[in-house]
Symmetry: C2
């Protein structure tokens, strides 16, 4: 059913996790059937957009009936690649790195944390939830020996690109970047940025705009 090699826009891709989450909620409520119209009401996108988004990947619905929630949930899970597990490491075991390590949710989503790395001797050897902090000198060896595919960058701005380059040279496939820096990667490497400060600045803008409209 898929329109082969018809590129899916990033806007669509970023909506998929939301569909997935809402479908999970529906399943938890034991709702097994849903129309794009009803989903639209719940999720806040137009029904048209929902149908068009889903159709990028296949005709999962049935005319006159709607979508089977369980089937659609599974299909989107497959599309999102949630059927498999990715071995990951965190680089940078400071506040942010420890925060992510402690935020166990992401391990439940198929990203298994195998080690953390830092340059600070005071941190090396410590454990965060059973995961050891290793010397960053061992980064490349560890990645190669343990087939690590995903690197989570929590180092300061100034070390971000260097860290990414090392990860890529060691054979990593994807990067989840929390450093406030736009890391450059080759085409075959996947990168996803979480720029917390940009999010915070946006909040600040909106607060400011509301308090002083049109100044």
């Amino acid at each position: 059913m898929q329109r082969t090699s018809q590129k899916v826009s990033m806007a669509v891709i970023r909506r998929l996790p939301k569909y997935y989450r809402y479908l999970e909620n529906l399943l938890n409520k034991e709702i097994y059937r849903i129309s794009s119209k009803e989903l639209s009401r719940i999720i806040g996108f137009t029904a048209s957009q929902i149908r068009q988004d889903l159709n990028c990947f296949g005709g999962f619905g049935q005319q006159g009936y709607g979508y089977n929630v369980e089937e659609l949930y599974k299909e989107i899970g497959k599309i999102l690649g949630l059927v498999r597990e990715y071995k990951s490491v965190i680089i940078g075991a400071g506040n942010l790195g420890q925060a992510i390590a402690n935020y166990s949710d992401f391990q439940r989503k198929g990203f298994k944390l195998k080690a953390m790395f830092d340059i600070n001797p005071k941190l090396i050897g410590l454990k965060i939830r059973d995961v050891e902090i290793l010397d960053v000198d061992n980064l490349e060896d560890f990645i190669k020996e343990n087939d690590i595919e995903v690197g989570i960058i929590c180092v300061p701005f100034s070390k971000a690109q260097e860290t990414a380059d090392r990860l890529i040279a060691a054979g990593i496939k994807g990067i989840w970047n929390f450093a406030p820096f736009d890391i450059k990667v080759p085409d075959n490497i996947v990168i996803e940025n979480v720029h917390l400060s940009e999010s915070l600045f946006t909040l600040s803008y909106l607060l400011n705009e509301y308090n002083n409209p049109e100044d």
Copy 2:
């Protein structure tokens, strides 16, 4: 200079923090003058887009010269509302909440953390970096007595909307939401979502797409 009441699109607003960050970097490198063309090379947007974005807020540049980095930096800071401080509280002192509290960066950006709240008696009374964890029963009183303007939601999915409603009723102006839930707020309340799991799922999708192209 500003086109009064000509609404600025969210796409533009979300680029402002990036301009701000790059301008800061330029200042650190003691670069005091820049053209849209050169900024384009560094930041990766087209020069046309940069000029158009900045012009939503005023004519900060000069023909034949370009932009004064320091002036532009300050202006964008003002637009982002970074000149003032917002008092904030975190609700939910579990892993994620502690993570955010420990991630001291955001306090440096004008969001002063005044307290944390939790429902768990084991956590109440503890301190994270000088900030005390209080009983969530005292949430409304604390917000009113201390003129708290921003609530950072780190509670589980199931408590997210309820928490937001309480914050809003107590007089909060903006919410930074880390719960995997799309909180509904009235028009006069500002909300900024950080959906980490959606970011992670996007990474998973991209990894999967790269590994199994067109299946």
